[in-house]
Symmetry: C2
């Protein structure tokens, strides 16, 4: 069984592998930064994880998760997202509060707990941030998510997730009356600063480029 520290390294590796795309692999410094540890610390842990056959890499080379490592990582993400859903749906936590507590809950070891929780929540497919929840086999729906900034004038879309999970950003989102699965229509764009006018539930707002680059949508 893995320690909490080991689980955190594996989880971060899954996220970074997805971000970097395809078989690009992950770097030591990148990983260390993401975990807020020094590269030397990450390096030590990487040796241990390779020993346990959860990752694969050569000295000075990129890190890749093995099949086993990926499976374990997906389980942790599954737990994280199920707990986020629980906190949001059942305990009235807000969007920005769920993450921190889920970071702790994701390390609880009990297969039965995860499956019962999943059932209790009605087998949700997405968490409150709109991110897909992996199933028991570690598979998850990849929805063709894109940035709001990439939507053309006159088109409609549906918000599915946010990129930035900070409290300041999420508060702003809520203030705009925007939530998961809400429709957004792009009314106009300014070439000068890439700000855009959008309509949410009949209400029109102007949002910045930075904002539009932190909202994930799907075509609608």
């Amino acid at each position: 069984m893995l320690s909490i520290a080991e689980e955190n390294y594996i989880k971060r590796l899954v996220y970074l592998s997805l971000e970097n795309g395809a078989g690009d692999g992950v770097g030591t410094n990148e990983l260390a930064t993401g975990l807020q540890v020094k590269p030397s610390t990450a390096n030590d842990m990487l040796k241990k994880l390779r020993q346990k056959e959860l990752i694969d890499y050569e000295k000075y080379g990129k890190i890749h998760l093995t099949e086993l490592g990926t499976k374990i990582g997906m389980e942790i993400i599954r737990k994280h997202r199920l707990w986020e859903t629980f906190l949001y749906e059942k305990l009235e936590f807000t969007w920005d509060e769920v993450h921190e507590v889920a970071e702790q809950l994701e390390h609880i070891q009990s297969e039965k707990l995860v499956e019962k929780l999943d059932k209790f929540l009605g087998f949700p497919k997405f968490d409150p941030h709109g991110d897909p929840i992996p199933n028991q086999a570690g598979e998850m729906q990849l929805l063709a998510k894109k940035m709001l900034a990439a939507v053309n004038v006159g088109e409609q879309c549906k918000m599915v997730a946010v990129k930035d999970n900070s409290a300041v950003f999420l508060n702003y989102v809520v203030e705009l009356g925007l939530g998961i699965n809400n429709q957004i229509e792009v009314l106009s764009k300014q070439d000068f600063d890439d700000s855009m006018e959008i309509r949410i539930n009949g209400k029109t707002n102007r949002v910045s480029k930075k904002f539009a680059q932190n909202i994930y949508v799907i075509a609608d």
Copy 2:
């Protein structure tokens, strides 16, 4: 903030203090045995906990929790029993499965989580084992749980827990129409074999001494 190890020592000290009664204090070996560590390990931790003013003791003397130590201990027990209740009531865990998982969940740090969970469960006063759940202030109903076998003829009581968790026993309990919080009236006792006649929901049954020694009740 306390580490999981520190929390486990404090929790065990609360239980042992209650068991030993009044101001008797707890011994190092007793504590070490309860936590499945060596006395020397416990001794080191005790120094740290004294440093943090959670306990009070002199070299070679008995250990007493301070007011702060007791408060923290009761919070951990509160969390443990709320989680047990959650697992039992909401996730269909059985009586004997809840403890192990609650041992992990009790260490999650989030005041909001505890209070929201309490509310979600409808502010329960007892956990699935019939043990009282401390309130936010750390106070709990001290119910003098006793064996059904110890109830006098003519008295009424309420079942709060079972001692034996075996399937054969639990099946028998169910067959008798007995469940948690059910009233039981002791109608008569046979001095010969200590069997007793009891009334459950208007139905009268004769049960053995062995049975009566495996049902916990409180006066009613």
